[in-house]
């Protein structure tokens, strides 16, 4: 039972996190939910039935993008669902769903009662944004195959599947630690004191520090695990991704959750890339490769094929 504990904690943290993140904010008690639909629609869900004459009158709604309060978008059509609780606003042109939209409604009429006007924020679910970021870093913008970062360690440790998995897991743990520390240091020290030119030095120092930290903790807490993964720890410092992730989250001004997702995505993406490559290279061992191409050259060509395949993910977005 004892070693279950960390997982319990992890589960609790994740659930709490999910709750705070998805806590969809609507500023009117009668409105349950607002959301984008397709590219040009906004759906408003009410807590009870609303009057049809009020709901289908487009003049009752006005919408603007948060950064452009002066440019009002008027829906061309408002339709009410049969149970009279859902209004779908259709706009003449595609909405920029990346931005939050402010929707204001005139006095809501529900079965003859006046419920007062409402001012609502329509935006993508934050959890969806985070998920996109995670999947983006892991697959769509895979660091190895689409950004070409971290290749030295990638080619060095992708000969065998067991090595690949060990390296991938160790790297993921270290990168999450390092990235979170880098985020805190950047947001609370480097940026306020205008020391951003020290980014490179500080981040490389943090990566070394987290490698050392994970090394010490693992050695004490779980010597078995250390025996399996310890050898990869040193290699993490030489991995460009470990320094690229902190630099990217500083450049993009990500917040703590987004940074966590980026780091996790980078780690998982590296693991995926290593595993795929290791599978291919184990088979390559058996193939009859021209002597001058044995080893690294053919591995590069194989990686090129993977990169071409990953190009197919390019530009994909989930939400």
């Amino acid at each position: 039972m004892k070693h279950m504990k960390p997982f319990h904690w992890l589960a609790i943290v994740l659930v709490l996190g999910a709750l705070t993140l998805s806590g969809c904010k609507t500023e009117h008690r009668f409105v349950k939910k607002t959301a984008f639909k397709d590219m040009d629609k906004i759906v408003i869900t009410f807590a009870g039935p609303v009057d049809e004459a009020w709901a289908t009158n487009t003049a009752n709604y006005s919408v603007y993008e948060e950064p452009d309060p002066d440019i009002v978008l008027t829906p061309k059509e408002a339709t009410l669902s049969p149970d009279r609780t859902k209004v779908t606003l259709t706009f003449p042109e595609a909405l920029n769903t990346g931005e939050a939209h402010i929707l204001s409604m005139t006095d809501i009429l529900s079965e003859g009662k006046h419920l007062g006007p409402a001012l609502l924020t329509v935006k993508k679910l934050y959890l969806g944004v985070l998920f996109t970021l995670l999947l983006g870093a892991a697959l769509i913008n895979n660091f190895v195959f689409t950004k070409y970062i971290g290749l030295c360690v990638f080619f060095g440790t992708s000969q065998k599947r067991s090595t690949a998995i060990g390296m991938g897991i160790t790297f993921t743990i270290v990168i999450v630690f390092a990235a979170m520390m880098a985020w805190a240091l950047y947001q609370f020290v480097l940026k306020p004191f205008q020391l951003t030119f020290l980014n490179i030095v500080v981040f490389i120092g943090l990566v070394s520090l987290s490698v050392q930290g994970v090394d010490t903790i693992l050695r004490k807490v779980n010597p078995m695990l250390f025996k399996a993964f310890g050898v990869y720890l040193v290699l993490v410092i030489a991995n460009c991704i470990a320094i690229a992730v902190p630099l990217m989250l500083a450049d993009n001004e990500y917040n703590a959750w987004e940074s966590l997702m980026l780091a996790l995505g980078a780690g998982v993406g590296f693991l995926i890339a290593l595993f795929l490559m290791a599978c291919a290279r184990e088979k390559l061992e058996l193939a009859n490769v021209p002597p001058t191409f044995k080893g690294l050259p053919i591995a590069f060509v194989t990686a090129g094929l993977f990169a071409l395949a990953f190009l197919g993910f390019s530009g994909m977005s989930i939400y």
Partner: protein, 304 residues
């Protein structure tokens, strides 16, 4: 113990030396960086208006910047335009507050010079000095107005919109009737060879000479780019006598009302740029109209 002290000392000294070297470089380069960035923007603007090495900017050409802020005072939201005004021979700035419908609210005098106004922190300090302490403001965008003598020749709009992968930063030039004079891609991260082709003349020059009415409904078509149009668009490759003056006029007329031809293998990038430009022009035209109305009604003598 002595060993540890020694190590600590050595590390401290090396860190201090390293910090000194970096700090020194930073102070030296920071100024040059700002200057070069400014020059780069300036050159792009002039390039869009057709000036360059062989065709220097005329003496009587002036550029004036208007900065737009969104100002929130409690429940109320305003648009705050920092408008350059001529005060004798000097140029100063006033802050014109408009409500969301574009009606004039009030005018506040700012103490900031045009040079200082180029820096965001300076602008913020000037705004803080005149606005209510509880007011909250966020930067919107900048409009640059090019004037030759007393005549307004162009609007230059820096802008940013989402591309296929990340953001695309552009500079757009419009004439006073909002016909596009030119488009320049400042920064992008599209795939080289595919979406990266948006920087090529045969794509970005397609936006030239598109009239406002056309831009409002501009679309992307997946049709191969006609050969003669491609030749016409690639201005840098023009050779002596390739086109006569009549031919140029003819081709321009012919393609003026056409939509944008998509790049092969990069329809989404083409569409992003087209929609981004369309939205920029539409928003700008709407806002500049409201601003000019307010300025004219209040008899504010703007420098542009």
């Amino acid at each position: 113990m002595k060993e540890i002290l020694k190590i600590t000392f050595a590390l401290t000294v090396s860190c201090l030396i390293a910090a000194a070297v970096m700090g020194l470089t930073f102070t030296v380069t920071a100024k040059a960086k700002k200057h070069n960035e400014h020059m780069n923007v300036q050159e792009t603007m002039q390039g869009l208006l057709g000036y360059g090495k062989n065709n220097p900017v005329p003496e009587d050409m002036t550029f004036h910047s208007v900065y737009r802020y969104i100002i929130e005072e409690g429940e109320n939201k305003y648009l705050g335009y920092m408008v350059p005004v001529a005060e004798g021979s000097e140029e100063g700035y006033v802050l014109v507050l408009l409500d969301l419908g574009g009606n004039f609210v009030k005018k506040l005098d700012l103490t900031i010079s045009p040079e200082a106004a180029q820096e965001e922190p300076e602008r913020e300090a000037a705004l803080k000095a005149v606005l209510d302490p509880s007011a909250h403001f966020t930067y919107g965008d900048t409009i640059v107005i090019a004037k030759r003598g007393e005549k307004r020749v162009a609007y230059l709009l820096p802008g940013e919109f989402p591309g296929f992968k990340t953001f695309i930063q552009v500079m757009l030039a419009l004439d006073p009737q909002f016909t596009i004079l030119g488009l320049e891609i400042m920064e992008h991260e599209e795939d080289p060879g595919l979406g990266g082709e948006i920087v090529q003349e045969y794509f970005k020059n397609q936006f030239r000479d598109k009239k406002f009415d056309k831009v409002k409904a501009l679309k992307v078509v997946k049709v191969p780019l006609p050969e003669e149009y491609k030749k016409y668009l690639e201005k840098k490759k023009w050779k002596e006598g390739m086109f006569t003056e009549e031919q140029i006029q003819e081709i321009r007329k012919k393609y003026e009302d056409k939509d944008i031809y998509a790049l092969t293998g990069a329809t989404i990038s083409s569409r992003s740029v087209t929609n981004g430009v369309k939205n920029m022009v539409k928003k700008f035209a709407y806002r500049v109209g409201k601003l000019e109305d307010a300025l004219a009604k209040q008899h504010i003598q703007a420098a542009f």
